[in-house]
Chain length 216, copies 4
DNA sequence: AATGAATGAGCCTTCATTCAT
DNA sequence: GATGAATGAAGGCTCATTCAT
C-alpha cells in the first residue's frame, strides 16, 4: 500500500494516484504530480492507463481491494455464535475505515467517489461490496425470527453499516464538534463495541415485539 | 432557493454556484459557468466575493442555512413525549437530506464539503450543526436513565445521525446494490420510521440492562 | 497585408497565421509561434477565433480576399474588345499569383488548402472564385461562335486558368527544371503574353473549324 | 502498389506511408499509424529509414516511380505522327494523374510535395520529370517551324502540362464549382481530347503566324 | 535483425484573474 | 458600481525517438 522500490512503475503510479486523488480530488490532481511522486515519466499515465480517468478508476478499485485484504473477516466455523459474527463484522468494518496507515487516504478516496460516482463505483459494488453485504444479511437472518421480511433485514443492515460509516463520512464534523480529547477517545475498540451493543439491542427487541410502531 | 428575477446579482451567483459546485465539485466548476447561469458578468465573482474560494464557502453555508429553514423542527411544548421528539428529529433530518427540490444539490454539496473540508465546515458546525446536536443529546438524555454517561449519549447520537446520513452518503452504492423497485421503496416515510424504531428499541434495552457486553 | 502597429490584435494574428500556415502547413504551425509573431498573448487565438482550425479558415479567406483586392480587374466599358478583356483577365490572374510582396505566402497557403481542402475551400469558391470564373466564361462566350457548347467553354476556361496556375503549383519543379537565368526570365509580363497568345490562337482556330478531332 | 503478403516489411512501410502521408500530410501523419497499417513494429521506421523525414522522401519517390511505370508512354516508331505523339503524351499524363487505383493518394502526395518541397522534389525532377519534359519538348519541336525559339517551346510545354495538372491541383475547387453531374463528365477521355485539340490548334496557328500579338 | 517498453519535449486549450473603462 | 476584453500560467495528452533485449 506504500511505495517501495520493488513495485513496478505501474503499481507505483496507482498508489501515488490513490494518495493524491484522495487528497485533492480528481480535478485537483495533476498527472504531473502523480508521476513525480511515483518517480515515473509524465507520459507514463497515458502509456499504462490510457488516460487520467482510467487511472482514477484503477486507483479507487485498487485502494479498496488492498484495504479489504489488509483487514479480512476472521474465519468462522459452524460453532461460531451469530452474535460473535456480528461483532466481528462490525469490528472489521470499523477497522477498515479508521485504523492504521492508509486509513486516511483510502477513506477520503472512497468519500470522493461517493460524492462524485464514476465507473469505479459500480465495479466496486459488484466485486467487493455486494458480497460483504450478503454476509451481513446472512448474519442478521440468523439473529432474527423467521418472519422478519427481507426489506426489514436490509434496513437493519443499512442501520449497522450507517453507524460504522458515520465516523468515516462525518469525520470533519466530528473533529469540529468534539474537543481533542473526546475525539481521540473514539478509538476503533470503543466504536465497535458501542455499535455492536446498540445494534444487537435493537435487533433483539424488534425481533421480540415486531413492528411496535414509533410513537408518532 | 431557486433563481428568481427579484434576487440580487450576488444572490443569484451564490445559488448558481451552489448548484454547479454540487454537481461538479470545486475544481470542476468554472467561474464562467457560474456567472453564465446567474446571468452575471464574468468578473462578478471576483467583484462580489473576492475570489472563487470565498464564493464556495458562502455557497456552502448559504445552502445549508436554506435547507435548515426549509425543514425546521416542529415546535414542541412541555407535554410532547420524548419519543415523539426523537421521531420528529429523525424525520426532519431525513427529510432535509432526501426530500423535495434542492435536496440533491444541497446534499451533494455537503458531501463534497465533507470529502474536502474547508473553512465552510467549521463555520457550519458552529452555527448550525452543534445546536442541532445539542437538541438531540437533550432528547436522548430524557430517554435514558440518569446514570448513562455523556460519552454514551454522544455515541448514541452518532448512531442515530449515522443511520440518517447513510442514505445520503452511500446513495451511489445503494443504487447499485438494490433493484430499481427496491431503491424507490426507500422513501422518507419508511426510512424515518425504521430508524426511529431501531434506535428507540436500542435505547430502551440498553437503558434497562446497561452494558450487556457484546459476545466476543 | 503586412503587420503594422495600427492593426488590431485580431488582424495581426490573422496575418501572422497566414504567413506561418503558408510556410509550415496547419499541423506544422504552432499557435505559440503565431501569437509570438503577432505580438499577442498565447490565449488570444482561442479568445478571438475559438480554436486553431477556425483561425486557419479565417486566414485563408482573408489572404485570398486581400490578394484579389490588391490586384483588381480593370474597369471595362462597352467598347472594350473581348480580346483585351481576356488579356486583362490573364494578366491579372498571373499577377495575383506571382507578383509583389505577399505573393509567396499567399500562393503557398492556397496550395496547402488545395492539397488539404477544408471548410475554407467551399467558402472561397462561393465568395470569390465562382464570380471570377463567370467573368471568364462571359469573355469566352464573346470570343466564340454561338454554337459552342457551355461544356466546351468550361473546358476552355479550365485550359486558360490551368496555364496560369501552373506557374503557381508547379513552381518547385520549374525551379529545379530550369537554370536560374531561365527561371528569372519567367516574369509576369512574359507569362501573361504567352498564355494570352496561346489561348487566343486556340480559341480562334477551334472556333473556325470546330472539333477537327485530334489525330489519334 | 498495394500491400500484399509477399512484400517485405520495408516495402509495406513505404506504401503505407505514401497512403497516409497523402491523406494527412507529413505533420498530420504519425509513425504509429504507418507502422500499424504496415503491420510493422513501432520502431521499424527508425530502423529501416533512420527517421520519419527520410521515409517521407522515399515514399514520395517510390509513389511517383510506381505511377510512371503503371502508365508508360506507348512505344513510337519512326512513322508515328508528331500529332499522335502529342495526343499520346497528353493522354498518358492525364491518366497518370486521374485514373485507376492509387490515383488519388499518389496525386495528393505529389500536391503536398509541391506545397512543401523537400529533398524529394529535386530528386524527382532529375530522375523522372526532366526526361519526360525533354520528350515533350522534342514533340513540340517536331510540330513547330524551325525558327521557334527554345523559350517559346518551353512556354508551350508548360501550357500543355499546366492544362493537364489543373484537373489535379484544382480538383477541390472544381468539385465546388460544378454540379455533381458536370464533375463526373470530366473523364480522362474527354479531358485528354480537349487538351490535345486546344493545344494543337494553338501550336498550329502560332506556328503559321508567329507572334500575332495580343490585343492590348 | 527486430522489437516494444519507456521517455521528454511540446502542443492545444482552458481558466481564474485583472484592469481600463 | 460593474463590465468584458485580455492575459499568463498550467493541464492533459500526443508523438517521434531511443535503448535494452
Amino acid at each position: 500500500m506504500s511505495i517501495t522500490e520493488h513495485d513496478t512503475t505501474k503499481e507505483r503510479i496507482t498508489t501515488a494516484a490513490g494518495e493524491i486523488f484522495a487528497e485533492r480530488g480528481f480535478d485537483g490532481t495533476t498527472v504531473r504530480d502523480i508521476c513525480q511522486r511515483a518517480g515515473a515519466n509524465i507520459a507514463a499515465v497515458n502509456y499504462y492507463f490510457g488516460d487520467k480517468q482510467r487511472l482514477y478508476v484503477e486507483a479507487v478499485c485498487q485502494a479498496h481491494r488492498w484495504r479489504m485484504e489488509q483487514f479480512p473477516l476472521p474465519a468462522w466455523d459452524g460453532n461460531t455464535l451469530s452474535e460473535t459474527k456480528l461483532a466481528d463484522f462490525i469490528a472489521t468494518f470499523v477497522r477498515r475505515v479508521r485504523s492504521g496507515p492508509g486509513a486516511t487516504w483510502h477513506s477520503k478516496l472512497m468519500m470522493r467517489e461517493m460524492a462524485n460516482p464514476t465507473a469505479a463505483c459500480a465495479e466496486l459494488v459488484q466485486s467487493s461490496i455486494r458480497p460483504q453485504f450478503e454476509i451481513l444479511l446472512q448474519i442478521l437472518r440468523e439473529l432474527s425470527s423467521e418472519e422478519v421480511a427481507l426489506d426489514t433485514l436490509r434496513l437493519t443492515a443499512f442501520s449497522i453499516v450507517g453507524q460504522c460509516l458515520f465516523y468515516h463520512f462525518a469525520d470533519p464534523v466530528i473533529r469540529n464538534l468534539l474537543s481533542d480529547d473526546e475525539y481521540k477517545s473514539l478509538d476503533v475498540e470503543q466504536l465497535s463495541t458501542h455499535i455492536t451493543d446498540f445494534s444487537l439491542a435493537a435487533i433483539r427487541r424488534l425481533s421480540r415485539a415486531p413492528r411496535a410502531g414509533a410513537a408518532r
